[in-house]
């Protein structure tokens, strides 16, 4: 730091000395012309001093002038301020006077209106309420912008006679129209949002239908009709269509003025329902498909065997080994000389060989039928766990949050039951067929091996 300081000061010194030299040079050149250059310098200095004094005086004078000007301006401003204050006081006084007058007038108004003040209050209240009703009413689709006639309800003035008349007429119109069906033209937005002018039929204040039997929703904000994304069942659609044409006098009406029809759009369809079941739902359906396929194959094979046994029964002389009864009979035929008891043993032995073949796969179907509802229960429990987790996070304040989870959880139970019931039915049907077949095999094979002797002789022999 110190070094830099000294450097700077030495530089300034150098500069000053050079400046002195140059000034000395110029004066030197002048003084070189005359012998008394020092006197000239003195004169020059004196001259310069007077010039400087003159300049200084002029500057001072200028400052004085400007000071006077400022003082003048200040005085002007103060005068303006005074004027403004005076005006303010005047206005304040006027305001107070007006205020007083206003309160007097208000008192006069209150005195004169007397009981009517409450009446106007009630009218405004009614008009406001009714304006809200009109905005959401379906009838406003036929007569738009009706609520603007009730705009006086928000304004701070006494309703005029025409206002009162409007309120009365609108109330009566709403009442009358809500009991009538009416055709009118309206712009209708379809599901993709395109506007079309259509002739529609309004049913009181409840529903609006088109010529095609589509139900329409009224959107108060845009004051236009919109086709419900999800229409009621086709039978009701057709009913509405023929009602529009005048062919029938029955019609589905939503008494909640569109609330239930709107709810219809929120209910999930079968595909969404199945998706709600989640992984366990798909597992159940997979097992179900496997079970149905298996049951179908088993049913076909059982019927084939039954038919073969029946054919064999019809032709007892032509014993074939391509069906169970034939095989049992063949095993009985090999030793005809044996006693009845040994024969029965052999037949039951041959029968035992057939049993696994006939009953094969039945247990599997039964297993699937038993597993499906259990899996459904598992899905319900996991779904409930999810619901309880959402309760832990968000509390029980919102029933909507929980209800969605619960309906999802129950879906797996539905899937499990709808797989188990047909499988159970199929299993018992096939099992009954198999048992019948086994009974036929057992009893008829034994009967067929008997000699054709009358009972009386046998009893006699015994």
């Amino acid at each position: 730091m110190k070094f830099r300081h000294t450097l700077c000061s030495s530089l300034i010194m150098i500069l000053l000395t050079t400046a002195q030299y140059t000034w000395a040079d110029t004066t030197g050149t002048k003084s070189n012309t005359g012998p008394d250059s020092l006197r000239a310098l003195l004169q020059e200095v004196r001259k310069q001093v007077t010039v400087d004094q003159q300049v200084e005086a002029a500057r001072l004078q200028k400052f004085k002038d400007e000071h006077d000007l400022q003082a003048q301006k200040l005085a002007e401003a103060e005068a303006r301020l005074k004027e403004a204050e005076r005006r303010r006081n005047q206005l304040q006084a006027q305001f107070d006077a007006n205020e007083l007058k206003l309160s007097e007038r208000q008192t006069t108004l209150d005195n004169r209106s007397g009981q009517l003040g409450e009446v106007f209050g009630v009218i405004k209240q009614q008009a406001e309420d009714f304006s809200g009703i009109l905005q959401t009413s379906l009838i406003s689709s036929q007569y738009p912008d009706r609520h603007e006639q009730l705009a006086f309800s928000n304004k701070d003035r006494i309703p005029t006679v025409s206002d009162l008349k409007n309120l009365w007429l609108l109330l009566q119109q709403e009442m009358t129209e809500s009991a009538e069906t009416a055709f009118f033209e309206a712009s209708v937005a379809n599901s993709s949002g395109q506007l079309q002018t259509k002739k529609v039929l309004r049913l009181g204040a409840f529903n609006v239908i088109t010529a095609n039997g589509e139900y329409l929703d009224y959107i108060p904000d845009q004051q236009q009709l919109q086709i419900y994304a999800k229409q009621p069942d086709t039978q009701f659609g057709n009913q509405a269509k023929s009602f529009y044409q005048g062919a029938t006098d029955t019609l589905l009406i939503d008494p909640s003025r569109g609330g239930l029809l709107a709810l219809l759009g929120q209910t999930p369809d079968i595909k969404e329902r199945i998706q709600q079941g989640g992984t366990i739902g798909y597992i159940i359906m997979g097992l179900g498909a496997l079970g149905f396929l298996f049951a179908l194959l088993k049913l076909v094979s059982t019927i084939r065997v039954t038919l073969a046994v029946k054919r064999q029964l019809n032709s007892p002389d032509n014993i074939s080994d391509r069906n169970p009864l034939g095989r049992v009979l063949l095993s009985a035929q090999t030793g005809k000389t044996e006693s009845q008891e040994a024969l029965e043993n052999r037949v039951s032995e041959a029968l035992l060989k057939e049993v696994p073949h006939i009953e094969r796969g039945l247990t599997f179907i039964k297993l699937l039928a038993a597993v499906a509802p259990l899996l459904g229960l598992l899905g319900t429990v996991t779904g409930m766990i999810g619901t309880f987790q959402s309760i832990t996070l968000f509390g029980t304040g919102d029933p909507k949050l929980m209800a969605g989870g619960i309906s999802q959880a129950l879906m797996t139970t539905v899937l499990g039951l709808s797989v188990a019931i047909p499988l159970l039915f199929g299993h018992s049907f096939i099992a009954a067929q198999a048992r019948r077949l086994l009974q036929i095999l057992q009893q008829k094979s034994l009967a067929l091996t008997l000699p054709d002797t009358p009972v009386r002789e046998l009893a006699h022999a015994a």
Binding site: L263, Q266, T267, P268, R273, P399, K400, L401, A403, G404, I406, S407, L410, M411, T413, V414, L417, S418, A420, I421, L424, F425, S428, F429, A431, A432, R435, R436, Q439, I440, Q443, K444, L446, A447, L448, L450, P451, D452, T453, P454, V455, R456, L458, A459, A462
Partner: protein
């Protein structure tokens, strides 16, 4: 939907139209599972009635015909057919009876799902909106139970009779 308001009972028996209307209301408020249950019940009762017909009209003459047969072989063949005919439809009836409460349970669950759907859309403020879900949940259960109990009563009686007849036939074919 209040069935009582539409019922006009004159005398002891309501007329056909009233019954039809109340049936329609019943099925509409019970939902699709109730219709399925109706088919199952119809099948069950057709089978049961067929068994009663067999028991009182067909079986006695068949047994007598079997008894008249002289040959033991023919008697055995015939008695085998007869036993099979006694057992015919018994397993099916048993399964249908077992399925009835299961279908009722299915109806309960679907009804509950509808109930919770309504709850998730509209909250619990309006119990009237939930009423249709409750009806869908309870009516199939009731119908399933009714069908199962009545069916079981008849079935048990028929089965006991079948057991007796089987023993009887066995006596007929053994010496």
């Amino acid at each position: 939907m209040q069935p009582d308001s539409t019922l006009k009972v004159s005398g002891i028996w309501p007329d056909a139209e009233t019954i039809l209307v109340s049936l329609e209301l019943f099925f509409r408020s019970g939902g699709p599972v109730l219709i399925l249950l109706a088919f199952v019940g119809l099948a069950l009762w057709m089978l049961l009635l067929e068994r009663f017909w067999f028991r009182f009209a067909v079986f006695p003459s068949r047994l007598a015909a079997c008894r008249r047969l002289e040959s033991l072989k023919a008697r055995r063949l015939q008695s085998c057919d007869l036993t099979l005919e006694i057992d015919f439809a018994f397993p099916l009836i048993k399964t249908l009876i077992a399925i009835c409460p299961l279908l009722g349970l299915l109806g309960t669950v679907t009804g509950m799902i509808q109930l919770f759907d309504v709850m998730s859309a509209k909250g619990t403020a309006n119990p009237r909106l939930m009423a249709s879900g409750v009806a869908q949940a309870t009516l199939p259960t009731m119908a399933g139970m009714t069908l199962a109990v009545t069916g079981l009563l008849c079935f048990t009686w028929l089965q006991r009779w079948g057991q007796l007849q089987r023993n009887h036939i066995r006596d007929l074919t053994t010496i």
